[in-house]
Symmetry: C2
Subunit: 253 residues, 2 copies
DNA sequence: GAGTGGTCTAGACCACCGC
DNA sequence: CGGTGGTCTAGACCACTCT
């Protein structure tokens, strides 16, 4: 990665810098390799550290880099494909899904969620927390809102707490027959609790997948799942999802 | 989910600022209203402009604000739902889809695209440009790669150029019977040309939807569509997509 | 303790928009 | 032209991780 001239600016410095770095990543670095630190890089390119950081932020957003405080900046592997809306991620509680139960509480949901569930604004619902791991890394955190009406057999004292209680709720929920589902994907930023679970800093970019499960003519449950946008490529549909990446990426020894 | 709590660890200023601003947007501003300029806002909150901007950037990423150089910062309307993978966005060229033809060239695609298409690395393909408009705003720009093998009847001199040529390619393509499709969604940043088409600055966050169309046992076409991440919520599935937003948003007169 | 990325400051100039 | 957001600088200190 030789020192390069950035001259006579038709385009912003950080943009040009990003291009130069991107090409250097393809040709001179291996996956997992550690880059020089930000102060050195900035000096090498003759820019202020803030400008260099702007370029690094973009590359991290695109999944090319991974930065960790106290450690350094490393070359990220290609994004992993994560299946959404297939066997691994269908009617919650189905056997063989990719989600791990965390805990479950009974509380009043945010107003917008209550509206989507068609429950009363002050009516408490079961709030299930689950997490999803893929290739040994946490990729998503989920809040699953289940109205009491969807699990009528469940009494408050039925299950203790934590994972067993999650399983009890899902077991009851799964007695309903799934009739259909709506799904939406949008960009968001990680709340503090999700960030912690995803091993990222608060505000990190996430893909928010909102799914409404329909059964018995009603909204039986609502899932709000936040996926790490830097490491995940969400795949839909029949067979597995397309993989498009940039250039020759090598593996670190 | 109220988090008004004493902190054992200090919260970054920009994060706190974002929360304050977010609440102010819900309670004191209407959609379309113009915020005070960045210098005034920074002074009002007693922070440097760069810090204030960090908070605004997050809010823009979440679709709460819209900023335009030379104009100002305005309160954004709720994200619009954009259907993906339904009648409006299925087999390209199907009647009644939501895409408008732009132009078409014959060129060698990027190596990664050639690999997905299973064509030779140096083999030129038809590259169709289309754009998608919703609610009067441009929401997506697409590059559709069509191998020559998928449109065998098309000769080079068949159609002149521009939109008519796009239609000719799609008409030929549509003679194949669609057998299935793979789809993937990931976060990206807008390239210079896409940014221009989407009326954003280069590097703006986008949702990249990659779709592989399967017909005759092959990959008949590959679509790479970049959607504005700030204004769009991609909806999938049966009926229309869930709408979850933050709080009481009012309409500007 | 040394070294990393994360936050923050107080300035400056530039590119764009509307009047 | 004046006002807006966008870029850039050269510092400083903090939070974290590793050794």
């Amino acid at each position: 990665m030789g020192t390069t001239q950035l001259e006579s600016v038709p385009e912003p410095k950080y943009w040009h810098l990003k291009t130069v770095l991107s090409e250097a990543l393809d040709s001179e670095f291996s996956v997992g390799e550690i880059l020089p630190n930000e102060r050195d890089l900035a000096a090498r390119f003759g820019v202020a550290r803030a400008t260099l950081r702007q370029a690094l932020e973009q590359l991290e957003l695109e999944g090319r880099l991974q930065r960790r405080r106290g450690v350094g900046t490393t070359v990220a592997p290609p994004r992993m494909g994560v299946a959404v809306g297939t066997d691994q991620d269908a009617w919650p509680g189905a056997p063989g899904d990719a989600w791990q139960p965390a805990d479950c509480t009974l509380a009043v949901p945010p107003a917008a969620v209550a509206a989507a569930l068609e429950t009363g604004a002050e009516e408490p619902v079961h709030i299930v927390r689950r997490s999803r791991v893929s290739h040994g890394q946490p990729v998503a955190a989920e809040l699953l809102y289940v109205p009491a009406a969807s699990v009528p057999e469940l009494t408050a004292i039925d299950a203790p707490s934590g994972a067993p209680r999650v399983r009890a709720v899902l077991r009851e929920l799964h007695r309903l027959e799934l009739e259909g589902q709506d799904r939406a994907v949008e960009l968001g930023s990680a709340r503090a609790d999700d960030a912690k679970e995803l091993d990222r800093l608060p505000g990190a970019p996430v893909l928010v997948v909102t799914t409404r499960f329909l059964a018995a003519g009603r909204t039986a449950a609502l899932s709000v799942a936040t996926y790490r946008a830097d490491t995940c490529r969400l795949t839909f549909g029949d067979t597995g999802g397309v993989e498009i990446h940039h250039g020759p990426e090598r593996q670190a020894s």
